[in-house]
């Protein structure tokens, strides 16, 4: 009862306040009898930001990036990790499907070979030109030229495929028409007793074994167990071998190392490995079975519309979603990479990680930096001395080395990457904030606040930090690109994001091999990244001006 009364009073107060504000804003006249309107800080800032065109454009671009990376999961793009070896290094194209591109590539390859064999009739000048291109290492030009010339000659009937070429051509045509890509999703096992469905990962070992046995065609469960055991054994063995690839080990050594590894995993650990192996195998079995089934259906003449989506049941009680599409009718707007993965979706998913690293890194470093810097600056004396000496020591250590060590000790995953970057990047912010606060803390308004009984925290976070905000905002928006760059560098070294995950940095890093042959792999991520960094900088500049009430760029 008491609580509701208080609540009611609060609401009443708020309404009254609103009225008061309205009166203050709309009813009040100044000495020139003009109506005076007031603003809150955020409203004011927004108004100023809006006047700054570059900042607004920057903000829109940043928001667009944010939306795209947030919605990456539901965008109609191909998976960023699906490897299709046939599709490697397909150039970007808006109109042509992957199959057409593959065909073109195959044909140009064939024509180029036949030019070498002398079956493609070329003039001497053209021959010299082609050879010149080859010495210049300009294979793309050679291929393009050969393709056009060959197509011309084939249409005119002056060039005929050899038998092997015709075979190759037919096979490719066939596969373009018929190859399907089957993807299996959300595999669940339905318990026949109570009708509940479970994810395979969450099942216990024995059920999993029985399912696996059934999937394999009803073989003995004991056999399955032993096969899983040997599978895990060989997994561990290869791990041990790669770890100790330098030292020469006898079979006995390996045996003992495997045993040691198993001991350290414990029985549960080994069983977990066996489970995940079983799950993987079941997935592969389902995929193979489905691919076979759909292919048979096509052969039998059933007309299937592609892409084809359905929910199917196999092995009595395993439910899953199946997606099948004609593999070669895909369109890669931005081309593919060395493993035939779609560059567009890799850029989008990579942007997700890059932006996340930029933002999370900046926020954590700001958080630590502002707290440390303001403590040092405000309290001064000993606190200042020790904090700043600590900062100096960290400054003295080579920055990248520290990150690399961090990553090496704690393992390379994204969380550790955040942690390692934040660990070393707050130093500059701390110094900057300290300097700002030291120069501000002797201002009279700080003294005024103290004379009103404000405590240290209030003075720091209500007066000192807001007043040094302009510097902090600019610096932190400049930090975001810097973090993205650093992450790229680490990814380039192989310490950043691990495949199949991508980031802009790792995409660019990977693309440096074959830069001239497959320039799109470098150009598109670079453009996307540069655009983001540009807009971030403009946006940051705008924010600084907007949050400074005394800024002269207003109105």
């Amino acid at each position: 009862m008491k609580f509701t009364d208080r609540f009611k009073k609060q609401i009443h107060d708020r309404e009254e306040m609103h009225k008061l504000n309205k009166a203050g804003r709309n009813g009040a006249k100044n000495e020139f009898n003009q109506t005076v309107q007031g603003n809150s800080l955020s409203k004011d800032a927004w108004r100023r930001l809006r006047k700054n065109k570059a900042a607004v454009v920057g903000m829109c671009v940043v928001i667009l990036y944010a939306i795209i990376s947030l919605c990456a999961g539901i965008l109609p793009i191909y998976s960023y990790e699906e490897i299709i070896i046939d599709h490697q290094y397909l150039p970007p194209s808006l109109t042509k499907t992957a199959g057409e591109l593959m065909l073109k590539r195959q044909l140009s390859e064939m024509y180029a070979t036949s030019w070498r064999q002398g079956r493609l009739s070329v003039t001497e000048e053209e021959d010299a030109m082609l050879n010149n291109w080859i010495t210049l290492d300009d294979t793309n030009k050679v291929w393009n030229w050969c393709y056009e010339e060959g197509e011309k000659q084939r249409a005119a009937g002056t060039y005929v495929f050899s038998a092997s070429e015709q075979k190759k051509y037919d096979r490719l045509q066939d596969s373009i028409k018929n190859d399907i890509q089957v993807t299996i999703n959300s595999v669940r096992w339905v318990n026949p007793e109570n009708g509940k469905s479970y994810k395979l990962d969450n099942l216990d070992y024995d059920t999993l074994v029985s399912i696996y046995a059934k999937a394999l065609g009803g073989i003995d469960e004991q056999k399955v167990r032993t096969s899983l055991e040997t599978g895990v054994n060989s997994q561990i063995q290869t791990e041990v071998k790669t770890k100790n690839s330098e030292s020469e080990l006898t079979a006995e050594d390996i045996q003992s190392l495997v045993a040691m590894e198993k001991d350290s995993l414990g029985e549960d650990g080994v069983q977990a490995k066996e489970k995940s192996l079983a799950v993987d195998n079941i997935n592969v079995l389902i995929q193979n079975a489905m691919t076979k089934q759909i292919k048979q259906e096509i052969k039998a003449g059933t007309n299937k519309e592609f892409p084809y989506k359905d929910t199917e049941t196999l092995f009595d009680d395993i439910n899953f979603k199946v997606e099948a599409s004609l593999k070669n009718s895909r369109r890669y707007i931005l081309g593919t990479d060395n493993l035939g993965r779609d560059l567009l979706s890799r850029i989008i998913y990579g942007g997700r990680i890059s932006i996340l690293i930029g933002i999370v890194g900046t926020i954590t470093s700001l958080f630590i930096g502002i707290i440390m810097g303001s403590l040092a600056g405000y309290f001064g004396g000993r606190v200042d001395y020790y904090i700043m000496r600590f900062v100096d020591v960290l400054y003295g250590l080579p920055y990248m080395l520290l990150v690399i060590i961090c990553m090496a000790i704690f393992g390379t995953n994204i969380l550790n990457l955040f942690f390692a970057l934040a660990m070393v990047s707050w130093l500059t912010i701390a110094r900057m904030v300290r300097g700002q606060i030291m120069s501000l803390k002797n201002q009279e308004y700080i003294e005024a606040a103290r004379s009103m009984g404000a405590g240290g925290w209030r003075i720091i976070f209500r007066h000192l930090v807001p007043n040094s905000l302009s510097v902090i905002i600019v610096y932190s928006t400049l930090r975001v690109p810097e973090f993205i760059m650093q992450e790229s560098f680490l990814s380039f070294l192989g310490l950043g994001v691990q495949a199949p995950l991508a980031s802009w940095g790792s995409l660019i890093g990977d693309s440096t091999q074959g830069m001239t042959k497959y320039p799109w792999r470098l150009v598109y991520p670079a453009i996307v990244m540069t655009l983001f960094l540009f807009s971030m900088n403009f946006f940051g500049d705008g924010l600084r001006d907007a949050f400074d009430p005394q800024s002269k760029n207003m109105l």
Partner: protein, 346 residues
């Protein structure tokens, strides 16, 4: 007299503020101190205005800061409502500060440029509200209305409450500062040269405002200025400070008509009179020498080096306060014969 029965609201007893200066002169490490305020005592009675006047660097502002405990005094007592503010706990100090508020010298530097007028004036209320030190808990609405009242009281249009300090003129800013000082309903206001940064016409407005507020709210002012005319206008009593010491205290009228201390005389004669005829005929007392550095300890009269009438006694004996008249005291050995100290004061 009724006033002698009246209890002082604020007593300052033998207040000293010394600032250590670290000399980094190689091996000889001698810690010197600047004696900004070197033992001063005065009482402030409720409802009156005590003016403190003196030249730059004589320790006026430091005195005020020490009273507000913004600078910790080296020794001495500041007694407010029976409690020595130098020794009370943090909580009690906060309670006392509620009744002792400050108005600052520079209206440009004393307002946070990132806060709107509303949040500046509301800040003391919010702080004390949060700490539950106000006699009655305030709701946001009450704070809002209080802010508007205050703005109107100091002569600001309440429509300006969402504006930032840089949008105001110097005089308006000082009004904001005054409104902030009044927010907690203090009894004493320490005004640290509140008008020296303003031009003369605005000075008059602000001074009149302060007088009105004093009349309405029964405030007690401790008013610092280096401008004698301002002090004469606003204060009931005046203390003249020189080199961290009070040399003369008196009622305002008495001081201006009958200055006793040679420094006071010189100071008064230095103020120009806005009448060319009088100004031409007037004889100024020109003091020789500079103000000595406040870093050495004095054994004699603080004014000895520059005094036109110095005697031998002045060199080695610090003069006590001689009573010249009612409420008129002066520290000068020349008065010893005319106004001998009472036995008890020796």
């Amino acid at each position: 007299m009724s006033e002698s029965v009246k209890k002082p609201i604020l007593e300052v007893k033998d207040l000293k503020v010394h600032f250590p200066i670290k000399s980094s002169g190689g091996l000889r490490k001698k810690d010197a101190v600047i004696r900004a305020v070197d033992g001063i005592s005065f009482d402030v009675y409720p409802g009156e205005t005590l003016g403190i006047v003196g030249e730059s660097g004589c320790g006026k502002s430091t005195t005020v800061r020490a009273i507000a405990q913004l600078t910790k005094p080296t020794s001495g007592q500041v007694i407010f409502q029976g409690k020595d503010l130098c020794k009370v706990s943090k909580h009690e100090l906060l309670m006392a500060r509620q009744n002792i508020q400050m108005i600052f010298q520079d209206p440009y530097a004393s307002l946070d440029p990132r806060m709107t007028v509303r949040s500046i004036i509301a800040e003391p209320l919010i702080i004390y509200n949060k700490r539950h030190l106000l006699p009655k808990e305030l709701s946001p609405l009450e704070i809002e209305t209080r802010v508007e009242d205050l703005m109107e009281r100091v002569g600001l249009n309440k429509a300006f409450k969402n504006r930032y300090p840089h949008e105001f003129s110097g005089g308006q800013r000082q009004r904001i500062g005054i409104a902030r000082a009044l927010a907690l309903n203090p009894e004493v206001i320490l005004a640290d040269e509140p008008v020296s940064a303003l031009d003369v016409s605005i000075q008059a407005q602000i001074l009149n405002l302060l007088r009105e507020l004093q009349k309405e709210l029964g405030l007690t002012f401790l008013f610092i200025a280096h401008d004698l005319a301002v002090i004469q206008y606003i204060s009931d009593k005046v203390c003249v400070m020189y080199l961290g010491k009070i040399v003369e205290t008196s009622e305002s009228v008495e001081l201006y008509s009958n200055p006793v201390h040679p420094y006071t005389k010189a100071l008064l004669s230095a103020a120009p009179i806005p009448d060319p005829e009088v100004e031409r005929k007037r004889r100024r007392i020109i003091l020789t020498g500079d103000v000595p550095s406040p870093d050495k300890e004095h054994v004699g009269c603080y004014f000895y080096d520059r005094c036109p009438n110095k005697m031998d006694k002045c060199k080695n004996h610090i003069p006590p306060m001689f009573t010249v008249g009612p409420h008129h005291n002066c520290a000068c050995w020349q008065l010893e014969e005319k106004f001998p100290l009472a036995e008890s004061e020796k």
